[in-house]
């Protein structure tokens, strides 16, 4: 009995060793093509990801994607990615939003994807988008998935009832707000989301501000420029005069105001339509969309959201991951798959026609809206000079704290945003970045 058991143990050790050797040789040649598909892990929280992954898996045999829903970026998702990549447990591919790309790049958490011939795709994306995924101009770090040009959603039925037209400039926006309150004193032209750092930066972006700049070779931060001040003091006055209400976006009060027609417009981006449709299903057909009111004669838009597909350092199957990322970023199929649940606007200009047809045909809330034309015009008007800082998750949190603390005070927004500059400079120096004075 004893010798046989010993023999069996020996044999199993040998088998294990042989299997290990086999695995190693597989890894070295980089392929497991004969053993069925490569399964990769995709980390994201972007609406529509599951649908996109399902469609990819149906149409591909060589690569299969395991979608892992992670907490929303700033709410824990990025922290999870940082930890996982540092611990050597990176997923194969993951979502990073535009503002956070620089922090992933500067901390060596995502790798350049230039080797996967992505340069040839450059002209399929708006210039400003490509500059954000390739900040230094040589290496490309992510493939853009969607973008979010700012647009203005408005209650077309109520505008008609009160004899209002969508304002083309911010001056007209104020006049419209006044005319509305003459007729309906309890209503506001919009709800201003003072706590939403993404919205505030989109508004500053649209106003011509450039908060971050790396052209000198150092980081420089400037939120005290004329354009930022003009934007901030404009909203301060509107809030002080009671023409708009200042509330957290998508919180209970905001939604109730939208439902009951007390808040008539929403500054948003194409993705907002899907959100609105879920909160306000019974108002389908009553909303329309217009370009964002502008500051000067030249039309401009900001960007308010959007995401990219980034390849983490230590991605176990980079080739398969890039095949998936390229498909998400360039395939009409991916856009069609997500359309029933998401109205996020594809970054790739070749997909925008598919998007227009798909969202208006599968989403009755968007049907009949001017969304495709307004969005496509806005996407071309975004200022390409805008850059993001190297630690935006933290910077955004600090901006949100500053604006929430000063919300409602006279001149509060302007002081919060201009004061934020020093906070960011301190924060970045503490993190070891070189910041210009």
């Amino acid at each position: 009995m004893f010798p046989r058991r010993c023999h069996a143990t020996l044999r199993s050790i040998l088998t294990t060793a042989a299997a290990g050797a086999l695995l190693t040789s597989c890894a070295l040649t980089g392929g497991s093509s004969d053993d069925g598909p490569t399964t990769i892990t995709y980390w994201s929280w972007i609406s529509g990801s599951q649908e996109i992954v399902d469609r990819f898996n149906e149409t591909h045999d060589d690569v299969q994607v395991d979608f892992q829903l992670i907490p929303g970026g700033g709410d824990g998702g990025y922290a999870k990615m940082f930890n996982a990549v540092r611990a050597g447990k990176a997923p194969d591919i993951m979502t990073v939003e535009y503002p956070q790309l620089n922090s992933f790049i500067t901390q060596d958490l995502i790798q350049p994807i230039t080797d996967w011939d992505v340069e040839e795709l450059a002209d399929q994306y708006p210039e400003w988008t490509w500059e954000l995924v390739s900040p230094s101009g040589d290496e490309v770090y992510a493939l853009p998935k969607d973008v979010a040009p700012t647009v203005l959603f408005y209650r077309a039925d109520l505008f008609e009832e009160y004899g209002l037209t969508p304002p083309e400039t911010w001056e007209e926006f104020r006049a419209t707000a006044e005319r509305l309150q003459e007729q309906r004193p309890d209503a506001f032209l919009t709800t201003f989301g003072h706590n939403d750092s993404g919205l505030l930066s989109a508004l500053a972006w649209q106003a011509g501000a450039e908060w971050f700049d790396t052209s000198s070779g150092e980081w420089s931060v400037n939120t005290t420029d004329e354009n930022t001040r003009r934007m901030a003091s404009y909203w301060d006055e509107l809030i002080a005069d009671g023409l708009v209400t200042s509330e957290p976006m998508y919180a209970e009060k905001h939604i109730t105001d939208l439902q009951q027609g007390r808040s008539l417009t929403l500054i948003g981006a194409p993705w907002s339509a899907a959100n609105l449709s879920r909160f306000l299903p019974e108002l389908a057909g009553k909303f329309d969309v217009a370009p964002m009111p502008r500051w000067d004669d030249e039309p401009t838009a900001g960007n308010f959201g959007g995401s990219t597909m980034a390849l983490p350092v230590g991605s176990p199957h980079p080739d398969a991951a890039m095949e998936f990322a390229r498909w998400v970023s360039t395939s009409p199929d991916a856009v069609a798959a997500a359309a029933p649940v998401s109205t996020a606007y594809p970054a790739n200009v070749n997909l925008q026609e598919t998007w227009a047809t798909e969202v208006s045909s599968v989403n009755e809330w968007v049907e009949g809206m001017n969304l495709p034309e307004v969005t496509s015009a806005a996407a071309q008007e975004i200022n390409p000079a805008w850059e993001w800082g190297p630690d935006m998750t933290e910077s955004f949190a600090r901006l949100g704290n500053a604006t929430s603390a000063r919300a409602g005070q006279p001149g509060g927004l302007e002081r919060a945003i201009t004061g934020w500059q020093d906070t960011v400079v301190d924060q970045l120096r503490l993190r070891g970045y070189n910041v210009a004075d």
Partner: protein, 291 residues
Amino acid sequence: MSTLGTQVGTGDRAWWMRRSFATLLCALAALYTLMPLVWLLFGVTKTLPDLYGSNGFAPSGGFHVLDNIRDLFAQDGGLYGRWLLNTAIYAFGGAAVATLLSVAAGYAFDKFEFRGREKWYGLVIAGVLVPHTAIVVPMYLMMSEIRMTDTMWSVLIPVMVNPFGVYLARAYSSGAIPNELLESARMDGASELRTFFSVGLRLMGPGALTIFLFQFIAIWNNFFLPMVMITNNDLFTLGQGLFTWNTGVGQNPDYTRMVVVGSAVATIPLILLFIPLQRRWRAGLTEGGIK
């Protein structure tokens, strides 16, 4: 007569006031505890727009419980069902092993004389004083060393021990198991293990149940440990899953409804567990108290 009457009256009033004050305190405490649950119950009947647009403590037009529950179990390819099952595995598995270990250890500390008994016992009790959160990160590093993070074991193993359970079990054992009974079992020729399993364990049933329930609830509600150990969605607990959904509301507001309905459904297994066990548990608590 009249003096006596007044005296009775004052006594009455004092009694009545004391009583109503106590009742008021209890009512406030009950309100504080039950209000969120009431809100949750109404929430389960609502659509997403109604969750925002209607009074949380009143029904709104329509009764959407079945739709909501169906959507809950269909969301993200049925992840919720998976999380429910995982949480049950962690809670039942962890609590069962923790109870057995606690009872055995408590019994041993109570019934056996061995060198350094009180010192060892002190060490166990010191474990009660160390906050659970403080040792989660060191545990993660250890699990990471042996490549066990992101497995069910990484959550199960740490919850399989419960120093407070050992304390309860020792106290319970000294009250519920007469030493004479063990003597007679030994005289009948039973081994120590046999004595423990056939005599000790049976007498400690109600105490074990208390430990089991405490540990079960602790694991069911445990958030930090699985949050640190597990990154794979398919191994998530309910708390972790609901948290993840809750951070996704910016992308998909419908997660708000899923979190409300999911939280309500997550309370059901605990209630179901309590109903049949409640009577025995209460009996066990009083038994342990009288000595």
